[in-house]
Symmetry: D2
Subunit: 367 residues, 4 copies
């Protein structure tokens, strides 16, 4: 595959540039019989829209989704679902300047080296707008997972040095602050920190955490398509992600085995549970029935007003200051992107896991 398609049974293919005619995605393999309307997708897209707080770009993007195929009389038909968002906010500004040099921290240089030239308007395919396709598809996956009793929730865990505290964790707080933090106190600190950042004409990074509940045990394929490995790929394929960890992640590298192992116990209903969840819901790369918990590290937005050294296409060293409508941080808007990539990954592997046992296949076909 050339890189724009992801998934085995549920596959998504995204397309579109920041300043082209639109952005879209084709979802192939979505089971028939899911009730689906544009509004189901729109609410996810709205969560990633800019202009919703003082920390996101004031650029207005309408991002209205259109279902082009795969839904008939309000139900998915099992055939490809094509979703499109027209680009409407294309300013006629002059991109010639940006075209002439390589912005530090951006993909300008690597696209030029890979393809010989690049679509320099608004970042082209490496723009954050590329995530629209991921979110539109993820909204469908999340809706289907909900029908199966599986929920996916992501939120901002940290912004710069400010991290949420477990004792104050309250998911309902997420929507009440500009940074999507499930901790009112941390959110206030983070907002103050971001104000300082902006004053300094700088940007900063952060961490998104995601919890998946209700996932049955047995999802994930050894050896290469482990649930953790596929999540790592899906999450690290998001533009600004520089790290991924599941369960205790990098902290487990400093732990003792006696602390890191999760003890099994017998639940009241006779089923088996774990006393702790250091593993983050996977053992041997297969879901163990506990909550799946992982984190993604986002680098600071590379577009900053602060002066930077770089080189132009002629190879001359120059100093630049990136103007334009950019977020000082992308983490709050990236929360829904993480959630959607997780939903897509989990749903795909969940469907694949249906064929792991002959006895269940026999039951399925009634033989």
């Amino acid at each position: 595959m050339a890189g724009s398609t992801l998934g085995t049974l549920l596959s998504v293919t995204t397309w579109g540039e920041s300043h082209g005619r639109g952005i879209g995605v084709v979802i192939d393999g979505c089971p028939a019989g899911l009730s689906l309307a544009e509004q189901d997708i729109q609410i996810y897209l709205n969560r990633r829209k800019p202009g919703q707080s003082r920390f996101t770009t004031p650029r207005k993007e309408d991002d209205t989704v259109e279902i082009l195929s795969g839904v008939f009389e309000g139900m998915t038909t099992g055939t490809p679902i094509s979703l499109m968002v027209r680009n409407t906010s294309q300013r006629s500004r002059d991109y010639r300047e940006i075209a002439s040099y390589y912005r530090p921290g951006h993909a300008d240089y690597t696209y030029d080296r890979k393809y010989g030239f690049r679509d320099y308007t608004g970042g082209g395919r490496s723009s954050g707008r590329e995530t629209i396709g991921r979110v539109a598809a993820g909204a469908v996956a999340a809706k289907l997972l909900q029908e199966l009793g599986i929920t996916v929730n992501a939120y901002t865990r940290s912004i710069g040095p400010v991290t949420i505290h477990p004792d104050r964790f309250d998911l309902s707080q997420m929507e009440k602050n500009a940074v999507n933090m499930p901790d009112a106190e941390a959110a206030a600190l983070a907002e103050a920190y971001l104000d300082q950042c902006r004053e300094r004409q700088d940007s900063c990074g952060g961490v998104v955490e995601c919890v998946i509940s209700g996932l049955p045990a047995g999802v994930g394929e050894p050896c290469f398509d482990k649930l953790s490995a596929c999540l790592a790929k899906g999450i690290c394929s998001i533009g600004a992600v520089k790290g991924f960890e599941i369960g205790d992640g990098f902290r487990s590298a400093e732990a003792f085995g006696s602390d890191n192992n999760d003890a099994f116990y017998r639940k009241e209903d006779g089923s088996i549970g774990k006393r702790t969840n250091h593993s983050g819901g996977v053992l041997g790369g297969i879901s163990d029935g506990s909550d799946l918990i992982f984190r993604a590290a986002f680098k600071p937005t590379p577009s900053i007003l602060t002066e930077q050294q770089t080189v132009n296409r002629e190879g001359e060293e120059i100093t630049v200051s990136i103007k334009g409508r950019h977020d000082p941080i992308i983490v709050p808007r990236a929360v829904v992107v993480v959630e959607c990539m997780a939903a897509l990954t989990v749903l795909d592997l969940l469907m694949v896991s249906m064929t792991s046992r002959l006895d269940r296949i026999k039951d399925f076909f009634g033989v």
Copy 2:
């Protein structure tokens, strides 16, 4: 794919259980004309062999590789290269006890849930011996990369709380200590730490770092097959890995954009370089011509002598102490596994990148 195959143009399919007849791998898509002998692969396998220091299991494993196909008169033919290592060290010990309960931190429970039962002898497919296939294949990839001027070097970065120091970094030290650390002083501390671990009948984790040099710019496919995303998957598919980060990784989540961006400059030969390498060698998921640097977090070995709570197959709560020949840490032996997964991933994407530009395709075919 069912999970045991990885890669687009260069694909590997691994097979084999810890205590079955053998372990192996099929490499498909290896270009014709690479000089290859069993010894080229054996030196990599020897690096992951147990019994080489007091911190690895005294279990003797011969792990002698056999090339079954794909090489003719010392050269790869372009057809599948099948490699096999016979299992020779199968003790006739009684695994019935292990079969009867779920070891904490192991995949016993999830395999049972996924497949209905499991091969309980020595961990079956979730055993560390599964990595033999990865290493055998990676040795071939690494040899081919060397022909193209690309080197891949992994080493132990930290063990528990002990981390190597950049000022003392010396790759030649790696082979001189039992923990594969390129820093003699840190290695001594780590060894002392491991001795304490073992005395406590406990285990610990660590971090492996990997550097890839000589990689041309332009490798990695937007949007889902980013170089960083594919590395994340390859690395996180290794059994005990709980985290992956590239460049500054999780630290970049706490950085400012002005610090995290790498300034471009003009090199003496007129080409373009970067003053720093916070990005770890990728921009927009595509290699930028700098060194590729990433890290993998390994959890502590789950098999420990210390008593643990768990549940048996009858659902009764019991207390267990895992006997047997187990490493107190797997990191030193995992170094070569990381190196090999990196080599496989990079070589695959390097070959895919050959078709990104029409002008170069025309040159290739002489039109």
Copy 3:
């Protein structure tokens, strides 16, 4: 993959139903630097448009293609090319009748069994309009192949019992008759035959032949991705195709080896040629440098006015006569579809073949 994506390096994903909002395709992996305009694609789409002769449905379909992404300033950028054709000719006719029963020879019954229900308007995803995505993508592939000196030409070989004669073969005749036959005499006979068919309120089938010239030797991957095998899949994935053969095909099953083998000889320029081409351009599934020649058998259009026995959704046996705007034969319009599927398949395998030899990879990277 769920079935709507085809290809390894150059992959296409099609979407859309007959009477939905549109039909489209995403081409991923198209190399950067190909000059491409909507008109390049439109001329291919026009070749499959209905209403061009008295043997194609009088239904007017505009089928105007829009390039939504992947092209910047007239050049492909290397990122996904999204193409869409809006459905404009949706009659508000009542499809309830068709919805209530299973048309013989159509996919109504199998879609119902597979998905639980179906989009009954105009055939949904099993409609001939699905081929729009194939043709739009194939037009791009064909243009790129031309840049490499490779041409793909398909034509009607037979209609019912009327077959073209090699002695009268003239590709320029194709556009001069209503049946796309490169033989004026056969075309006249075929047209007369079709007139009879229509009078009888019946339909008929035919054979499309395709010749690919200029393909270098070495394309096709043993063992499963043989050039012949991938062509077979691509061609047999076209709705009404019931058979595929390459070179002498089924006739070779009746031949002697001494007749069927193609003798090699030395060409004047010193290169190696074949005296005959019974193999159709492949040996061992790999292109041999000769013309690639294959044929596809198309069944008669299943929609006929003649009365037929069938069953309705309630399981009652009924008699039906399929009204509507249907072609008495689909072969003339299918010619361009065959051509396009061939172009897509050949281009993909051509790009894959670039990595078969280490010496050429070294040359490519200049090492």
Copy 4:
């Protein structure tokens, strides 16, 4: 994929050359819980073994299969099943002669052009021995299909001009003649025809037919992974196959729609059947519940004693006569190969089809 792997959920990867150390296959994605012993596979391998009649090469091949992984205590575990057959019959004959020129009808020339050189001993990877991996894997697939009530039966339909007659069809006759024909009379004629062939030092081709019974409706994925398209690929990937057709195939190209359409009717048990089966068991590329019927055209064995013109590696024109132990026809031995490729293809798509409907997925997971 580089071409040696086939399948989505059930994938097979074959390896091995004619005169290397062995031939093998890795089956990934085989569900856990299938009872499997080496003998189950051996009976299939024995059917393709040479030396069983006067029309197959007198070369003795033992072809004893070894299960290397994926089976524990007689049951498949869900992990990769690695199967190997050691090459034991390697004559120390001199292949230098064959190495020096290109045998007409063989892949010598194309391998040389693709890979730069070739393993010239016994055909290397393009040898008929490559089918051992297909047959070993297909035996496992066929056994699993039987557990689901699905049977796959292939047989020789024609040899040269001799074709079986429907009125004399008797599957039990297959094993009683040297040509695997389910028609005693045709078999006798075919044997006489083959005797003539051999006297003339020539070879001939034939057609294999395959019937799959018990397949539920709903298998096959539009648009590219149609059941017919995937079968076409699987079958056309067999070395000597030059054509594929399903149902009436090429004959349907000469039929009228009124004859070719299959009328639906109501069976006594209330389910829906078809009065005829011109479609060969697929409608819109999806199984319709009828028997699946397809045919494969095999070219004559290219190795013949008769003198042929060709070119040597120095580019000189020469005359050759291919000595050695070769079958005058490969069709009888290819019957089991066709059967096995069909079993693999059908099982894979059957498992994929389990996720086509949300209501059934809910049932599966008990929600």
